[in-house]
Structure formats: C-alpha cells, structure tokens
Amino acid sequence: MNIEVEKYLNNACIWLPTRKLKARTRRELSEHIEDISDEYTNMGFTRSEAELFALNDMGNPNRLNAELRRTHRKLLWLVRIRNLAIAVIVIFGLPMLPNETEKFTDGAPLEEIEAKIAEADYSFWSNPVFDKAPAELLYEYVNEDGKVYRVYRSSVGNIYLAESVKAFGINFKNRFYCNTFQPMESDDNGNFTFIRSSEQGVSIYIGIGVPNNSKKYIRAEIITLKPSGEERDGVEYIALPDKPCVLELSRGGNEYSYFKSIDFCDENKVITESIK
C-alpha cells in the first residue's frame, strides 16, 4: 500500500473509541480508496498517481476523523466511563477487598478453605487466602520490601505457601495468593528448611525457614535457551543466610531459562558462582 494511503488511513482513524471500530473503518476507507484508484487507473494513470487522486477525492482526513469521532461520541463516552470504572476499581478496589474476618473465620469449615486453596492452585496464584483461616499458620516471613510470606498446613497435612499481593508499589498485607508446596526438608514441628514450587514457563523456587547448619549452600542447575535455539547449562551456588529468610530465585527476561534441579550442598563456595 502506498505510504500516503497508509498515512491517510492513520489520520482518519486515529482516536476512534474501540479497536474494532478503528479496524472496520480503516478497512472500509481503504476499500473505497481502492475503488476510486481503480477508476483513475482505468483512465490511464499509474497506480501511485491514481491513489493520490483518490486521496484527494476522499477529502481531508483530519476533518473526516473529527466527523467520525463526533458520530461515535456516545461510544467514546462509554469507553471513557468503562476505563474510568476499571481505574477506580484497580486503585480503590484492591485495598477494600474483604479482609480475613469477612471471608474466613476461625469456625469456617475446612472444606471451604480446601476448596479455595485448590481453586487458587488451578488459577495460578490468582485467588486469596486470608488470615485466621483454620489452616495452621506454620511460618511467617516479611522480606525487606514488606512482602509477607506464610506457610499454612491444612489438617490433612498439605502445605501451602501464601504470598502477599503487591500492586502499584503497595503491599496488601491481608491479601494472599497461595499455591501448594512440597517441602524438600521438614520436620514434624513445622520447621521447613526449603520449600519449592514452579509456575508455568518460568520456574520459581522459594526458600523459607530455618537454615540447616550442615547445609550452607543451594545448588541450582539452570537451563537457558538462547533466542538462537542454543541450550546452555549453568550452575549457581547461593549462600543460605544465617537466619530464617525467603529466597526467591526466578528466571526470565529475554532468554527463556528454568531450573532443572535445586539442591542443598555443603561446598564451601563463593556466594554466587556461575558455571558456563
């Protein structure tokens, strides 16, 4: 398509209220320009000359755009109101979501909690669990950014990790996303030395709990897929801190990478070392 035609269509359809309307109008105008261009081409003009004449016949694109926007002003206002409503819900809605006392109480049936947690597991961190759920709170950790991590154990012994929601730089301390976790090491007293989980695509391992004196490092085996398709293996050693903590080890960015395995080790290595 002639660049002038492209420019014309861009100017004529800019700021129309919805993508669908924009696409439809753009296509309709483009077809009309095509029809006029055919007429000029049949008169003996070259295609690019014909397209320029066609644009002239179509009229000023900015005026056309103003008329189209006036025509669809009702829709434009509806879209504006919808966007405003979404913004209001996002900004003010999150902190106003029901807190623990409204949703789960000490007397809430366990099935309810289990169902909620199971649902959360399937919807990839999208559902909350709340304080005071009948599930037993085993561990709580607040990191330097104010993010809260909790470990719950249900009466049937399943372990869940709840992670507080952070949005727009605000920590919502009574809103948690949860997922089931399998502890790598734990004892009957609820001391977890390491708990892990994974999300689709990118693996995330999170360590929680009391460091084991005999295990000073985490050895993470990482597979990185380069954009070229080349696969690279790497190993990182991460030192376990002296006190209870949460370690979030995530992979992402331009390269797709994931954890192949993750283990404790005793090697007296430097804090982080990558082996290519």
């Binding site: 004529a12 439809r24 109008t25 296509r27 309709e28 105008l29 077809e31 009309h32 095509e34 029809d35 006029i36 016949d57 179509m58 009229g59 000023n60 694109p61 005026r63 056309l64 008329e67 189209l68 006036r70 025509t71 669809h72 009702k74």
Partner: protein, 108 residues
Amino acid sequence: MAKKDTMRGNTGLLVLALIAKEDMYGYQIIKELKARSKNVFELQEGSLYPVLHTLEESGLVTSYIADTESARKRRYYKITDKGIRELEQMKQEFDTFTVAARRVLSFA
C-alpha cells in the same frame, strides 16, 4: 456540485433512499448519488462514512460484508424496518418543506 449547505441535513435522507432500493457499499452509494442527481450531488467521498455510521448507530441501516461483482469483499449497507418507516416520515417532511419553500419563493 451542490453547495454544502444545500446538502447538509439531507444527506442522510438521500443515502437512506438509495439503500432502500438495494443494498449498497460506500463507493457504490457515491456513484449512484452522483448519477441519479445528474452530477448535482457530489459528496467528498470520505464524508459519506460518518453519515453511514450515524444511520447504522440509529438502527436505520445494518451492514454486512459480501463479495462485489469483481469478487472483492465490501461492506454493504441494508435498510432496516425502522429505516423504512423513518424514510417515509423524512420524505413527507421533505415534501412539506419543499412545497412550503416553493410557495414562499413564488413571491420573489
């Protein structure tokens, strides 16, 4: 070309009258308008679309995509029942207006 002021306000009526005869797409409407008015009514071609969209938003026409004679796909406009009723009313109003206008002008 008819002066803009003469056409203003009546474009919807003219376009609706054409679509009432048969389903048409934009370019076809412009050509028909020009041919039937013996080149008196010539719209800036782009300005037809706000008119068509207004008619569609008001429920007087609907649109659909179909092949043209040249096998190209085009968006056709079709008059609705509401459009037919509205067209009749607009025609009557227009007739009343033109009769009244002629009476006034006959004094000049």
